[in-house]
Amino acid sequence: MNHRSSLVACACLAALAACQPQSEGTTFTQWNTATTGAERTRPTSAGVTTPVTTPTPVVTPVSEMPTSAINTMALMLAEEAVAPGDPVPQPPATPVISPAIEPRVRELRAIVERTDDCWSSAPMMRIAHMPPRECGQWFETLARGGEASGHAIGQFLAANVRGMNSAPSERLSEILASTEAQSGGAYVVRRIHALIDAISAEQPQTFNGSAAPPLALMHTNLRVFEQSTGFPVNETALWNNSFDAEGAAKARPAAVRALRFWSRNGQAASSWQSLSDQRLRLWLSADDPRALRASALILSRRGSAHLRAEAERALNRVDTSTSSAEARVYARMLLRRFQPNANEMGMGMDALD
């Protein structure tokens, strides 16, 4: 699976290189170089490892470009590069819990702890366990918990940066984002901060040969951060297939970039959702195809409907006025996203994954 993703990423790179203006060629050259080095190998069930050969560059039509390519486009909009050794910004303070919701936070925190049993395959366990029947109900309760859920889940995520299974934290992170709790962003940023520490503390060799929990958790959290704030930080193709020292070296700058963005903008925004809205509005107001692609990414992964009218107006404008054929393609893709039953008909952005 990972190697298939790598191949897709390579194909995307080729496609991106083909469709970028000449002035941006340097960016792609550097990016491409960073992904080479020791080539990946593919172990078979028999323990035999065969190399994954570099595919012949293929130019993918924009209409067939997977979301990961769009993700890469979004990456280009990041304001600044981060070097591997750059300092880590200070994490935000732990959010303060209002006394009025404190008892509810405690109740929900207990539920969060119980959800650890909701995973049938816990890699550190020796037998398969049945998840409790209450799991669905627990997750629903958390999703409806608003600000109290934000604290309950956020506290748990910020404090637990180890463990074998990234699935529980992924589910909880998604629920945290869906609560639109104001405190959610700060907790996720604190978790990213703690994960940087965890990754830095690991010896590179300890990652080899098996999934590395801090890296897997970091991947999940940067994705949640990206979906929630609109800041394109999770350059998936760069490192999520590399759970080793190379992956760790690449994950850190991505995480530091997220922390920097939060330091600059997070405290001022009323919530991470408003931060995301600001960013989408900015991008939707531009005719720049790259900005539209970034918007496509965010909107395709984020279920918020309140920007729909605004997005539709902007996209119609792009579709009819812009001179860029590429921008029109993305505008149409985004518009299809808003059509009824888009996903069922395979017309939404998700269908491009």
Binding site: A38, E39, T41, A46, G47, T50, D117, P123, S210, D244
Partner: protein, 404 residues
């Protein structure tokens, strides 16, 4: 995390229900292999072990053996007692790796083998915890001292303070299977009774049965309890139960053939891990054990490429014998090194690229034995020093190979 531990503790009670199934399996296995006893009249010896289904009931101590504790046995059997004191049988319960696992899944069937003298249904304490698999666990039943019959206690002219009842099973691999071969249990429903999946969680005996070692009659004891000579000249079976903690035993298990050559712009390393003197899959035992082969260009260890050799599992949602649907753990892959006589050597091809290859003259490699995947070890507080043991390491020169 605490909640997980508490939730899993309830499993202890549930797992007791697997006892009947396991007992049925093991009783057949051991009783079939009972052979002639040399000394006193042969009694109908009960199965000695139950694959974890029950604690071990040794009955009353043998005459003139004190309380029958390891300390008492060591009064006379000094060498054996000293060896056992440093073995994993002695620390079967107290071993920190076992304890970390038991904290997560405190199951009855674990306890029944790791502290077999503890009372049923109780957390082991005292001697039962401290001595783990002690002398009496194997050698005492109902007032009799049991032995293979070929040790010093039976040597002509030796006057043992206690009678010895010979039991040929002591020298057979089947004897070890009593604890070192068992199946995954599974829950019929969330929190419900358990059933035997008939899928081995530990298959060491099965692996041995399929090996060339079994075909030529080499038993577990021949490698793990080799013959030794005491200071007084008497021969006896070693009781340090050497295993994966013994570097010499690890090193003799496999050898590696590695070739490194340039192929175009790449440097390609082909490595074969070939079983040599090992009578079971390597590694064997616990489902998390694995080998990792690291290969790197001399001077660039941080760019090492790693291949793992391990079992993999998947949880399958399937119908249980009583008609429920439940998750059952099934093995989905096994890339471990198989013993001679089964399978083929593991081959890996690793490809290095990059500007630094121009001057590469030497490729280094190291094969390590891991108790569990590194992230799991880190999560349980075990560093590489505790989790990893070097099996074999070496280097190979880079040959010209194929040039474009």
């Amino acid at each position: 995390m605490l909640s997980v531990v508490l939730a899993r503790r309830t499993l202890a009670a549930r797992l007791a229900s697997i006892a009947a199934l396991a007992l049925a399996v093991c009783s057949g296995m051991l009783s079939r292999d009972a052979r002639g006893q040399r000394s006193t009249a042969a009694p109908a010896l009960r199965p000695l072990f139950s694959h974890g289904a029950h604690p071990v009931h040794v009955g009353r101590p043998a005459a003139r053996t004190g309380r029958g504790t390891a300390e008492d046995c060591g009064e006379c059997h000094r060498e054996i007692a000293r060896e056992w004191a440093g073995s994993l049988h002695k620390s079967a319960w107290t071993d920190e790796v076992f304890q970390a696992a038991y904290d997560v899944e405190p199951m009855t069937f674990c306890r029944n083998c790791h502290a077999p003298l503890a009372r049923e249904g109780t957390r082991p304490t005292g001697v039962a915890a401290r001595d783990g698999v002690s002398c009496a666990v194997c050698h005492v039943r109902d007032g009799h001292v049991l032995s293979s019959g070929s040790g010093r206690g039976d040597a002509p002219g030796t006057i043992a303070p206690h009678a010895v009842r010979a039991d040929a099973r002591f020298a057979q691999s089947e004897y070890c299977a009593g604890c070192h071969q068992f199946n995954f249990p599974a829950e019929t429903t969330a929190g419900g009774p358990l059933f035997d999946t008939r899928a081995p969680m530990q298959d060491t005996f099965g692996e041995w049965q399929r090996s060339a070692h079994a075909a030529r009659g080499t038993q577990c004891q021949d490698c793990h309890m080799p013959w030794r000579t005491a200071p007084d000249g008497a021969r006896y079976r070693s009781h340090d139960f050497t295993g994966a903690r013994d570097p010499s035993l690890l090193a003799r298990s496999v050898r590696i053939e590695a070739r490194a050559s340039r192929e175009g712009a790449a440097l390609v390393v082909r490595a074969r891990v070939i079983p040599t003197d090992v009578g079971h899959a390597f590694p064997t035992g616990d489902l998390f054990r694995r080998l990792e082969l690291s290969v790197w260009i001399d001077g660039e260890p941080r760019r090492a490429q790693v291949v793992s050799f391990a079992r993999s599992f998947t949880d399958v949602y399937e119908r249980t014998p009583d008609g429920h649907m439940a998750f059952v753990r099934r093995q989905s892959g096994d890339s471990r090194v198989q013993p001679p006589g089964t399978g083929t050597p593991r081959e890996s091809e690793l490809r290095f690229t990059g500007a630094s290859l121009a001057n590469a003259r030497l490729v280094r490699w190291k094969l390590e034995h891991l108790l569990m995947p590194s992230p799991q070890a880190a999560a349980q507080g075990f560093g590489a020093a505790r989790n990893r043991a070097t099996v074999i390491e070496g280097s190979t020169s880079v040959t010209a190979g194929i040039t474009p």
